[in-house]
Symmetry: C2
Subunit: 508 residues, 2 copies
């Protein structure tokens, strides 16, 4: 495994990652030239059970025609009763075959291969079973289109596992990762585990009450930090990578502009670090509440609306992209994938062999054959558009309800018209007095306990003590689990009411 | 998380493992006394999708009545054609409900709870979903019966992942693991990764041509090694743990006697190390070919025949047991579990949160609800007995064919009547001349390529250079993947023929 000479950023990879070389005990032995080997040897090699001892003999999977196929049903009782009812109208279903080798011989254009029981319940290739791994490559080509040639993919056990494996491929003990000051904080635990430091990058974000375009920027802070590294972070080595959630930022709900991404990529080139872009939310891509929502996107329009990502702008294999099936399919499949330079994927593959091996074969069967039943990549994108439409409805309902709420109208709070993802930011106006900030946020959290709405405090999603103190005057509202739009509207009211409670003694 | 004071062997756990403390950003905030919180708050907390956006709406799983329900079919063509045929006679099937909360309320005795789609496809608890985790505890109690009270269980992503996680909980860099000189060699890769050393323990094993009881022993070697540690392994710290495959040893197929296990456990107490027992094969428990095979075992007889394990003899939480569903259910579920002292499980849980999270929900649904459909633990044990019966038939066919083969009859080779597991050892008699050993094994491997049978060289399954040189004059024959008994008998003939080829110039 020596593709190292082909990879420009080899010096940014971890020593442990580069040192691995997994040798399997099934290795064959060399035969002399002209040796007459038996043409049909019997293989009694691995502890690989014959499929006829697997208990599962058949599998039939029924699919929803779309999210909430029967509309919303706010009555929890009725909901539970209908949950097991007849399949939704126009729903597809598929049988998983014991042996799909005949089916897979079909050479139709766009034929998406199925995984059968015999293969799916067996030991299998670490990077992923062939049809699903091929799908990740097709998806990458058509939807993500990296800006460099030598990319590859590998399945992971979901987003968090993907991040851990990417970090493992990059960091030695004592190395430095840059991350946004508000971010998916479990990265801190990965850092402790692998032994690298995290340096946070301050962010500017400006929610708007008018639904106009607000922007998240941090490139200037990042530039300043890197230019003055020795004085800003004395004693620390320069960073090897930047962890970023560019689209549907968690927790803030913003997407970075193309221009901003270009600036950050320039900084990565100037200061020589990798970019690890975590994009679980990227496909839940919205329009502002001021626009008429388009629920009839074609797959072409959908892909175009996604725009450019860091990896599509990258020409040298500097970007590693983390994908997850959790948000657009289901978290329980515990499956995602990584796109990166083939050398990076090589390191991650070796680590995967030692640590986790491939994701569940049942997950791979159900995921892959769903894609097949939907008609391949185009059909799967159709499903994602349906999911995006559901989240767009949710986002609009919540943002509009907050915009029209008393607290926002009075200027006591602001709401971010989220551009993408699962989260809307509700900012409490704590005024200019910095000393009052922490006190007011605490009062606000108590008030929400009283009005009855649970969200996540901005401070809990920060890796910076300064940001927690000075810029965490917001909560993250999740669009994901609510049973319907009315619940989101009621939550908006309760959040606003909580802010109003803070001002109950103000002159009105 | 401070149960450390209750655990006698705390000093044998890794510093990294002990230092973890995962804090989730969903944590709640404290409310003042007498605070009047809303009775029904709306939760908009996690990025946890509503189940109505999961594409999967229904799932129906059909089960085989037993392994090879339609008997053997040696014709590969016909096999492929019938693979997708009608379900086997007496086969069960089950529907996975979207919402099983009503079903799970049933309070019947032995009622095994089902996992529904709503739960199984969602994010879930790291140690495992409640019904399956409860099953691992019931199984542990009834079948494994640890000798100490404070044990707990956690699901893993299969046997190899379980081993990695157990090692991670124990070893700091530079620590020492003991392992059998012939073993599951991928542990070497885990050792490199985590940074510990492996010291191999020499083994005595004596296959028999007569089908009588041969024995695997190593306690005396182990005792000698430990008593003379400073001179035998100068500069190395004393070992923190011993990795052992006690039943159906891989590659040798032996099971350790109760007496031998007691000796080893005494050594563990005397020299203060943990025992990590890896038992994926333990339930494929055989009878010698000289006995009439009992294919009608009751579950009680089956459990009794398993006998005592290291963990059942352990009274202080010194033993960690690794279990896998790969060999008795299917490898593709990528699921196993660990039994250990609750403090050890606590450390493994923290690491699991950071690294892999829980096994696939689809795997957990299918595994758990299979157990439910089979009637709970007793029914599941019935399935395992069926699998064991299939392997017993295979073992007997292969061992008898080898015993009656020309090479064994002539004393040029020996066969081990495997006591348990998936593997039979075929030993080539290389004579007394040590210098001839490597040459003959190489010739033998070439001869098998000519007669047409692929197995694994003993040397590939050794971690000791000395053992590879002096005691690796055997191959490991897998019973697992062959389509029928005839294939095993043909393989026996080809193995024997290969030995005969080595002697073709001998006077006969």
């Amino acid at each position: 495994m020596t593709q190292s000479t082909q990879y420009k950023h080899e010096h940014l990879l971890s020593e442990k990652g580069k040192s691995r070389s997994f040798t399997h005990f099934y290795r064959s032995f060399p035969l002399p030239d002209n040796f007459k080997a038996h043409p049909k040897p019997l293989e009694l090699v691995g502890g690989v059970p014959n499929f006829q001892i697997f208990p599962v003999e058949s599998l039939k999977v029924g699919l929803r025609s779309k999210p909430f196929p029967n509309g919303y049903d706010t009555d929890a009782q009725v909901n539970a009763a209908t949950a097991n009812a007849a399949p939704s109208k126009d729903a597809l279903s598929f049988d998983v075959l014991v042996d799909a080798s005949e089916v897979n011989k079909v050479a139709e254009k766009d034929h998406h291969e199925e995984i059968d029981i015999k293969t799916g319940l067996q030991y299998s290739n670490t990077p992923g079973m062939d049809p699903l791994l091929k799908f990740t490559k097709d998806f990458t080509k058509e939807v993500i289109h990296p800006g460099y040639e030598d990319w590859n993919t590998i399945l992971t056990l979901g987003g968090a596992n993907g991040a851990y494996k990417a970090f493992e491929a990059v960091f030695n003990e004592g190395d430095v990762l840059l991350a946004q000051e508000f971010t998916f904080t479990p990265v801190v635990q990965s850092a402790k585990d692998i032994g690298f430091d995290i340096v946070s990058v301050p962010m500017d974000f400006q929610p708007t009450t008018k639904g106009g375009k607000a922007e998240l920027t941090y490139a200037d802070h990042l530039s300043k930090l890197l230019d003055n590294w020795a004085t800003e972070q004395p004693g620390k080595p320069k960073p090897k990578a930047f962890y970023v959630i560019p689209d549907g930022q968690n927790p803030l709900g913003f997407s970075e502009s193309l221009e901003h991404k270009k600036k950050v990529l320039e900084l990565a080139e100037k200061h020589d670090f990798l970019i690890i872009e975590d994009e679980p939310y990227a496909y839940l891509n919205f329009q502002p509440v001021t626009e008429e929502p388009n629920f009839q996107l074609t797959t072409k329009e959908f892909i175009e609306a996604l725009g450019d990502s860091y990896i599509s702008l990258d020409t040298t294999g500097r970007v590693i992209r983390l994908e997850s099936f959790s948000k657009v399919y289901a978290p329980g499949v515990r499956t995602g994938f990584i796109v990166g330079h083939k050398r990076v994927i090589e390191l991650i593959t070796e680590y995967t062999m030692v640590s986790t091996r491939n994701p569940s074969g049942l997950s791979q069967i159900v995921l892959n054959n769903t894609i097949s039943a939907l008609g391949g990549l185009q059909g799967y994108l159709g499903w994602i558009i349906n999911v995006r439409n559901e989240y767009l409805k949710r986002k609009n309902a919540l943002v509009l309800a907050l915009q029209h709420s008393e607290s926002v109208k009075k200027g006591w709070a602001y709401v971010n018209d989220a551009e993408c993802g699962m989260f809307v930011t509700f900012v409490v106006n704590t005024g200019d007095a910095e000393s009052k900030h922490e006190y007011m946020m605490n009062e606000f959290r108590l008030a929400t306990a009283q009005t009855g709405v649970l969200t996540v405090s901005g401070g809990n999603l920060s890796i910076s003590e300064e940001a927690k103190k000075e810029r965490a005057n917001f909560v993250r509202i999740s669009l994901a689990s609510a049973p319907d739009l009315k619940t989101l509207e009621e939550a908006a009211k309760r959040l606003s009411d909580a802010v109003v409670l803070l001002h109950k003694d103000d002159k009105q």
